[in-house]
């Protein structure tokens, strides 16, 4: 599979301290295992790499993976704490189940707190979206680190 990173995507990844190889690893894993959510056109996949959970947002176009974005968080994803009946248009490719809006627990530096996520209750899987991970979760991690210092 060939990977396509636009200059804008490369810039975003650079600002977030992510490498193109990290994103490739996430996509490789997702395409090999079907461990991703998809709305039919776009995919979101995640993989733990070191201390980070790294996400790739991408589309598959023939033999190309066109990367739309990548982001990461340090908090570890735990269990689902809330799921609504609202479908978000996403399906978990691994089991075909509909993905819902919900919340999942996250743990970091000994504390466990909740965050809004896309959740699939049958598998217990949860995915945090870019709008949250790129700013609010990153800021929260900083506050956790500062307050526990």
């Amino acid at each position: 599979m060939e990977y396509v990173f636009s200059d804008a995507v490369k810039e975003v990844l650079g600002k977030r301290g992510l490498k193109e190889d990290d994103i490739k690893a996430v996509i490789d894993y997702a395409e090999g295992s079907n461990d991703k959510i998809t709305d039919g056109a776009k995919n979101i996949a995640k993989k733990e790499i070191g201390d980070l959970t790294v996400y790739a947002v991408y589309a598959v176009d023939g033999g190309n993976a066109v990367v739309e974005s990548g982001y990461a968080h340090k908090m570890k994803v735990l269990d689902i704490v809330l799921d609504s009946s609202d479908a978000e248009g996403w399906t978990y490719a691994k089991n075909g189940a509909q993905v819902r809006k919900g919340h999942a627990n996250l743990t970091y530096m000994g504390a466990t707190r909740s965050g809004p996520a896309l959740v699939e209750p049958t598998s217990g899987e949860a995915w945090f979206e870019e709008y949250l991970a790129a700013s609010a979760l990153a800021a929260a991690e900083g506050l956790f680190e500062a307050k526990r210092a």
């Binding site: 909740s114 709008y131 506050l143």
Partner: protein, 372 residues
């Protein structure tokens, strides 16, 4: 005289202890006791010998009074300076400073239904020129410089539905919720988008912005649950997600003021809980919202903030405050994601200090970790 010259330095040993106490309630970890947050605003200026009006008219003075009086009562390690009706002047509302109340709106800007479409939502650059941003940043820049250890930038949007209603006048808005819900929702959304622009501007300036929001007008005494679901619950989700997307957060303080007996359940599955979220609920009917029920509904998702009835704070009876606080603490203190003792709304400006001390006394006697 410069404002900072009016005050002795903050006791940093106290501040550090209070900071650990607050962090333990929100993040877990060790501390002495549960924290107390009586949602103090202009009581702080009154307690320092100034006026209610000063709190709103002189942001630096208000912010420093808040810091100083938090220390006096052994409350929060941060200033929480904000005021009612934020972001409304940016849509054409004139706020009039008052001697004995927060500023009040003098006009409405939506008279006819068509006026809603004419409201222009300012972007995050335009909003920097307005009343709200300039006053908030006057306070926050001052705190960041003079009291950096107590600095927390807040992006207030305390009642999106109530502020939206205020643009048209309460009666007209309530009528629209019956006759033309889409119009009512459009009005609320215009205000909400303005508040999101404000949150974005503050987040850009300070790197983060604590969102304080909730539902005040939309309560069980004013609206049926199906109306609250639309004008408040759905819109809160939109507000917080939009603000996060534009850099605000990660902290969220939900203040559900008034009676939420028949509608609190609507918010449980709809609001967004960030890892640093506090949920406060005022009343259930005519009584304070029971801590045990707040814990059951929200305790696995957020820090809870049960309350003592604010009305008690103008009565010279600190024992009644102590007893109600003790009951609330005992019923909710083991909430899995933390407990803060609060009051049902802003503590009245002329509250006797003895009443505030009763809250703290109850937190010490019944909220000391390791004793239950």
């Amino acid at each position: 005289m410069d404002t900072a010259e009016l005050f002795p330095p903050i006791d940093l040993d106290w501040q550090n202890k209070s900071r650990k106490r607050y962090a333990a309630a929100v993040l877990g970890g060790d501390a002495d006791r549960i924290p107390v947050d009586p949602m103090m605003l202009s009581h702080s200026t009154v307690a320092c010998g100034h006026t209610i009006r000063d709190f709103y008219e002189k942001p630096k003075l208000g912010a420093h009074c808040l810091a100083y009086i938090q220390q006096l009562y052994d409350l929060l390690p941060v200033t929480k300076y904000y005021f009612a009706h934020p972001w409304m002047p940016e849509l054409g509302i004139r706020l009039k400073f008052m001697d004995y109340t927060p500023p009040v709106p003098e006009n409405v800007v939506v008279v006819e239904p068509e006026d809603v479409d004419l409201l222009e939502v300012p972007d995050s650059e335009e909003i920097k020129k307005g009343f709200t941003f300039t006053r908030l940043t006057e306070a926050y820049d001052y705190i960041r410089e003079k009291l950096p250890q107590m600095f927390v930038p807040i992006s207030p949007c305390p009642e999106p539905e109530g502020s939206g209603a205020g643009l048209a006048g309460l009666e007209q808005f309530l009528m629209w919720t019956i006759t033309d819900m889409d119009l009512a929702l459009k009005l609320v959304r215009k205000y909400t988008d303005t508040a999101v622009s404000g949150a974005e501007a503050l987040a850009k300036r300070y790197g983060m912005a604590l969102l304080t929001t909730g539902s005040v007008l939309a309560n069980s005494d004013i609206m049926p649950p199906e109306t609250i679901d639309k004008v408040a619950a759905d819109n809160l989700e939109y507000l917080v997600k939009s603000a996060f997307t534009r850099g605000a957060g990660p902290q969220v303080f939900y203040h559900f003021c008034g009676n939420h007996e028949n509608d609190y359940h609507l918010f449980i599955n709809k609001i967004i809980y960030s890892p640093l979220t506090i949920v406060h609920m005022g009343y259930k009917g005519r009584e304070v919202f029971p801590a045990g029920e707040l814990k059951e509904a929200f305790g696995d998702k957020a820090t809870i903030m049960p309350s003592v009835d604010t009305k008690r704070f103008i009565v010279p009876n600190p024992r009644a405050i102590y007893d109600e606080a003790a009951r609330q603490i005992q019923d909710g203190r083991d909430s899995p994601k933390g407990f803060i003792l609060g009051t049902t709304c802003e503590v009245p400006p002329f509250s006797p200090p003895g009443n505030l001390l009763a809250l703290v006394r109850a937190a010490k006697d019944h909220g000391t970790y390791g004793t239950w």
